[in-house]
């Protein structure tokens, strides 16, 4: 992650034509390479917010800045924005329109003006990288949910954006595919891509995100590191989220005196296990010195 702000949003509000106020004055800054998890109940405005970030929706008030430049809503300006910001939609069936996997993935690159040959090379590379090769010759309608998801991520990855937004990437997937998609997202981050995703999985947000942004009724209720966010009981209650199990366990271990106070909150099971082992060793050492 660098210090450079790649995306900023100021006073963003959006009202649907039917009068529903989906967003009410949202402010946000995202740094280059940051991993941001958006959480909040269904209908709290996450998806609507995402669609503003690449200019599909035009805000009723406020603005969105990419690399410090406000989005220009002309055809040409939008092309620039969408080259930089890609969105992977929640339901692959509303994103994949072609029955052929290669054709489907080629759509975005060709729209960016690549020649057939260039597009073919890029599509082949992405198919290789995201391990789509085993089913590239199958028609889209015979693919499983996880396979469709991988194709829909490839759709965007092939356009080489600076920011990738994923709307609930692991919804309706089996654990095997969740893990695979998670690994894939990590790979995107490692390439320096800024990743924004929405999720309901607190455990995942805890171990993955640099920052958690909580949406509630069209506003940002809170934002901060996972430790900060998940430690606030009232906030969890307001957004109907549960504190991550690892965090609860860490608290109970501390309360029971099995872990010393003042340790940073563990983000992964490995980290917590490490704490416990360390505490045990310390205790054994202490009892040995006492015996001596």
């Amino acid at each position: 992650m660098t210090e450079k702000t790649i995306l900023s949003v100021r006073g963003l509000s959006y009202t649907y034509p039917d009068g529903t106020k989906a967003l009410q004055g949202v402010d946000l800054d995202v740094r280059q390479g940051e991993k941001v998890a958006f959480m909040g109940a269904n209908g709290s405005g996450k998806s609507t917010f995402f669609l503003h970030l690449n200019g599909v929706y035009k805000p009723s008030a406020g603005s969105v800045y990419i690399d410090g430049v406000p989005i220009n809503y002309s055809r040409k300006g939008l092309l620039q924005v969408r080259r930089k910001v890609g969105i992977v939609f929640q339901d692959p069936d509303s994103q994949l329109f072609s029955a052929s996997v290669a054709q489907e993935i080629s759509f975005g690159v060709l729209n960016l003006g690549a020649s057939q040959e260039e597009a073919k090379n890029k599509v082949d590379a992405v198919i290789e990288e995201l391990e789509i090769a085993p089913f590239r010759e199958k028609p889209t309608h015979f693919l499983s949910g996880g396979q469709k998801k991988r194709v829909s991520i490839a759709d965007i990855a092939v356009m080489e954006p600076d920011i990738i937004i994923l709307d609930e990437p692991s919804s309706a997937l089996d654990p095997y595919h969740v893990e695979m998609i998670d690994a894939l997202i990590d790979r995107l981050s490692q390439r320096g891509i800024t990743v924004l995703l929405s999720t309901h999985d607190v455990e995942r947000a805890m171990c993955w995100a640099d920052r958690v942004v909580l949406f509630c009724e069209g506003k940002i209720a809170a934002q901060g590191s996972p430790e900060e966010i998940f430690s606030q009981e009232e906030l969890m209650e307001l957004t109907h989220l549960k504190k991550p199990v690892i965090y609860q366990l860490f608290d109970s271990l501390k309360d029971a005196g099995m872990l010393p106070q003042g340790l940073p909150v563990p983000r992964t099971v490995q980290q917590l296990t490490h704490y416990i082992e360390h505490a045990k060793e310390n205790k054994e050492q202490r009892s040995k010195t006492q015996q001596l």
Binding site: R75, I87, F97, F107, L110, N111, V123
Partner: protein
């Protein structure tokens, strides 16, 4: 939808769609121009052989496909064979009112020939359908400069037939589970509500799809990779040879009195 699965499973799926289209349309053209029993028989045999023996489509399924238009064919050609005539004809007559319902040798031959040519022509199209999935055919149509609007509609419709069908099946099944098809009245009601639900969802999906396409810089035209299977020179030569041979045979049949 079964046809779609069969086309994807075909051993000939990875042959160039240009080659298969040329074989099917070439045979179709020669067959309809020749209007001959012999050529029709050859065409029917070759097309069935390609589909069943090379493409490994199950013969039972291919015969079932061919049988589908048989009823229509017999009804259609019977009308041509049977005439109403004031005088008796040479083959078979049945007195009726002031004249005869009669069949002449010529009309019977004509009707039979028509049936054979039709069946052979249908087999050409079936050969193409059981070996070539839709996206491959669309590639061929695109390079034949078919209007882009038609092509784009084909791409979208083909994809969304499956999405909407899945939706319809899921809703019907859920209705079944709640006794939605208990009697004729409830069944009609369930069908109606299922269709309206599918329509609503289709509209919803259409707007989501548009957003998704916009996000990928959609500019009003579908730019897609024009990638497809390649032909080997030997295949091209074989297909060309076969079509030339068939055309020559058609010419010979014509010169020998058009059997």
């Amino acid at each position: 939808m079964v046809l779609d699965k069969i086309a994807y499973a075909s051993q000939w799926r990875k042959k160039s769609p240009y080659l298969k289209s040329a074989l099917a349309t070439g045979t179709l053209l020669i067959c309809t121009c020749a209007q001959s029993f012999v050529i029709s028989a050859i065409a029917l045999l070759v097309m069935s052989w390609l589909a069943v023996s090379c493409g490994k489509t199950s013969p039972a399924y291919f015969i079932k496909l061919l049988a589908a238009p048989l009823l229509f064919l017999t009804a259609g050609t019977a009308v041509i064979a049977v005439n109403f005539s004031p005088d008796p004809l040479d083959l078979c007559n049945l007195a009726f009112a002031d004249g005869y319902i009669a069949v002449s040798r010529a009309s019977l031959l004509y009707a039979l020939r028509l049936a054979c040519v039709s069946l052979a022509s249908v087999s050409c199209l079936y050969f193409l359908s059981v070996t070539t999935p839709m996206p491959d055919l669309i590639v061929v149509l695109r390079s034949l400069k078919c209007p882009w609007l038609v092509i784009e509609l084909m791409v979208m419709m083909y994809r969304y037939i499956f999405v909407l069908l899945d939706m319809a099946v899921a809703i019907s099944r859920a209705q079944d589970c709640r006794l939605g098809n208990r009697d004729a009245k409830t069944a009609i009601y369930s069908m109606g509500s299922m269709l309206s639900a599918v329509l609503m969802k289709a509209l919803q999906r259409a707007s989501q799809l548009f957003d998704a396409m916009e996000s990928r810089c959609y500019d009003g035209k579908l730019h897609l990779l024009n990638e497809t299977w390649q032909t080997r020179p030997s295949e091209r030569v074989a297909a060309g040879g076969y079509l030339a041979g068939l055309a020559a045979a058609a010419f010979l049949c014509r010169s020998f009195g058009g059997i």
